[in-house]
């Protein structure tokens, strides 16, 4: 499957470049936009792992929700979008040494571990299986998360409704 390999390399490179922009760019808003594209690319990686449901959820939660909140924070904060963070590096030798050592350790780790390749065939209709697991093995975490989110949802409505009353009292 040459096309799949090519697509994988494209997506992986996209994620890496975006991640680098997030870390290295001076302007905070560029970092935020790059983070958004990075989340998007990670969803693409999930698709390559045959985890379509996870990919959809990734898009919905991280791209559709969390990134909007980050952008909100940046755009609503006065003058922060023009702020450029200056690099302050006082201990170049020590810092460089630690970085290089850490990088070497990581490369050694990646090379020495015997990475296991998953052999079973991907599940045909994965959402159904995920639903069954939610309702059996992971029932309690699922229910707790569900109740928590519902409380947050209703709480938001209640807070929104109450503001007028508080002003009168």
């Amino acid at each position: 499957m040459v096309i799949a390999d090519f697509a994988f390399i494209l997506v992986a490179a996209f994620v890496l470049i975006c991640a680098c922009v997030v870390v290295f760019h001076n302007k905070i808003i560029y970092s935020a936009f790059a983070l958004l594209f990075c989340f998007f690319g990670v969803a693409g990686l999930y698709v390559f792992l045959n985890a379509e449901f996870l990919a959809g959820t990734q898009l919905l939660v991280y791209v559709g929700g969390i990134s909007v909140l980050i952008l909100f924070g940046i755009l609503l904060t006065k003058n922060i979008e023009d702020l450029t963070s200056k690099e302050v590096s006082t201990q170049k030798i020590f810092g460089g040494l630690i970085s290089v050592t850490f990088l070497g350790g990581l490369i050694y780790m990646v090379n020495s571990v015997d990475w296991k390749v998953s052999t079973p065939k991907p599940i045909e209709n994965s959402p159904v299986e995920i639903g069954k697991l939610f309702m059996s093995d992971f029932l309690i975490p699922f229910e707790i998360a569900g109740v928590l989110l519902l409380v947050a949802l209703i709480g938001a409505v209640v807070i929104g409704r109450d503001t007028d009353k508080d002003l009168e009292v």
């Binding site: 096309i3 808003i29 560029y30 936009f33 958004l36 998007f40 969803a43 379509e52 449901f53 990919a55 959809g56 959820t57 898009l59 919905l60 791209v63 559709g64 929700g65 990134s67 909007v68 952008l71 909100f72 755009l75 609503l76 979008e81 209709n125 994965s126 959402p127 949802l153 209703i154 938001a156 409505v157 929104g160 409704r161």
Partner: protein
């Protein structure tokens, strides 16, 4: 020819077809909107270019491409360039999961150039099993085009438009998700094909009327159309997030808006009006004629909803910003929670009828 090559050929053909239909559809919808708004305001509208105005949108497109592409000096160039792309890509991507016709049973039949077919042809670009989730996810990306464009132009009006749009989309995504949950509850599947098939077997989901109304309202908000078009509200914000865009970049914002209208209408039809299903008719008995008939019926239903989009835009005034938020958080959201609970209760009561 082996099965992978065949699938590749058919996929490319289907992608080309969907994009073509969307882009040509956009020109027609723009023309329809202009003619219809003219009718409602007792004017004539564009009626000269090529047989009663049919060529007007093409002429406008050529005009937009040929115009000078002005980039103001104070804008942030990179974001300014990317924003129209980010805006338009999701608008075209969402068409991928909408089934526009029944499966054609061509397995075993020999075709020119391709040879003997190995699989039946599904009339849907990507028959993924999380189609509904995909649609919601991609639709939520559309807001970033507005935010990037609004920020890049470096002026207050555009930024305000962008902020309004994102706040509006975040607040209307919740009720939309809950309305879709009722659809999933009824169909028991996230796959668009199965949702259509289930509606064929039982009933059109529009019978669950509250869910349909909530979804229709939220889809108006998601496409930024009146009465929810605060992002580009002319009286307050000049033109909102695309104030300083010119030539084809502006054209791309326009394409994205109308492309969203088409895909949203198709989605409403797929989720609540049985997709390509013709009521009381067994399409599979009619053979190839049935396929063509089903696709035409799907187009007709979609056109009706596009018409409703246009009709509402030229009939209703705009919400004020606080009213917009109140409607969402205090009105539609509690209603949609009630709808989910009510649907679940009724489904348990009617369990024997369903299965």
């Amino acid at each position: 020819m082996d099965i992978a090559t065949q699938n590749l050929i058919f996929s490319v053909l289907k992608v080309a077809l969907v994009i073509k239909v969307l882009l040509l559809g956009v020109t027609m919808v723009i023309l329809a909107e202009r003619r219809f708004s003219a009718f409602m305001q007792d004017r004539l509208g564009p009626n000269r270019t090529f047989y009663g105005g049919l060529g007007q949108s093409f002429a406008d497109g050529i005009k937009l491409i040929l115009k000078e592409d002005v980039i103001p000096t104070h804008v942030d160039k990179l974001t300014y360039m990317i924003a129209p792309i980010v805006m338009m890509t999701p608008a075209l991507m969402t068409g991928a999961v909408i089934p526009f016709g029944p499966t054609i049973p061509i397995a075993g039949i020999s075709l020119p150039f391709i040879g003997e077919n190995l699989t039946p042809l599904v009339l849907q670009v990507a028959d993924i099993n999380v189609g509904l989730l995909y649609f919601v996810a991609i639709a939520s990306i559309g807001v970033y085009g507005i935010v990037m464009g609004g920020w890049a132009q470096n002026n207050k009006y555009s930024l305000l438009g962008a902020l309004r749009a994102s706040a509006q989309m975040v607040s209307y995504e919740l009720p939309m998700g809950l309305a879709l949950v009722t659809v999933v509850l009824m169909s028991g599947s996230l796959s668009m094909n199965e949702i259509v098939a289930h509606q064929q077997e039982t009933f059109w989901y529009v019978l669950n009327f509250p869910a349909f109304m909530i979804f229709l309202i939220t889809i108006f908000a998601e496409t930024n159309r009146l009465p929810f078009d605060l992002a580009e509200c002319e009286q307050e914000l000049v033109a909102g997030y695309h104030t300083e865009y010119s030539s084809m970049k502006f054209g791309m914002f326009l394409l994205a808006e109308y492309g969203n209208i088409i895909t949203s209408s198709a989605l409403v039809v797929t989720l609540f009006f049985g997709g390509w299903d013709i009521p009381f008719v067994d399409e599979s008995a009619l053979g190839l004629f049935g396929v063509i008939l089903s696709m035409s019926v799907f187009g007709l239903k979609t056109s009706i909803f596009i018409f409703i989009f246009i009709w509402v835009r030229w009939s209703l005034p705009r919400f004020r910003y606080d009213q917009l938020m109140n409607v969402s958080w205090k009105g539609i959201l509690p209603l949609s929670i009630l709808t989910v609970v009510g649907t679940a209760v009724i489904m348990v009561l009617l369990k024997n009828f369903y299965h």
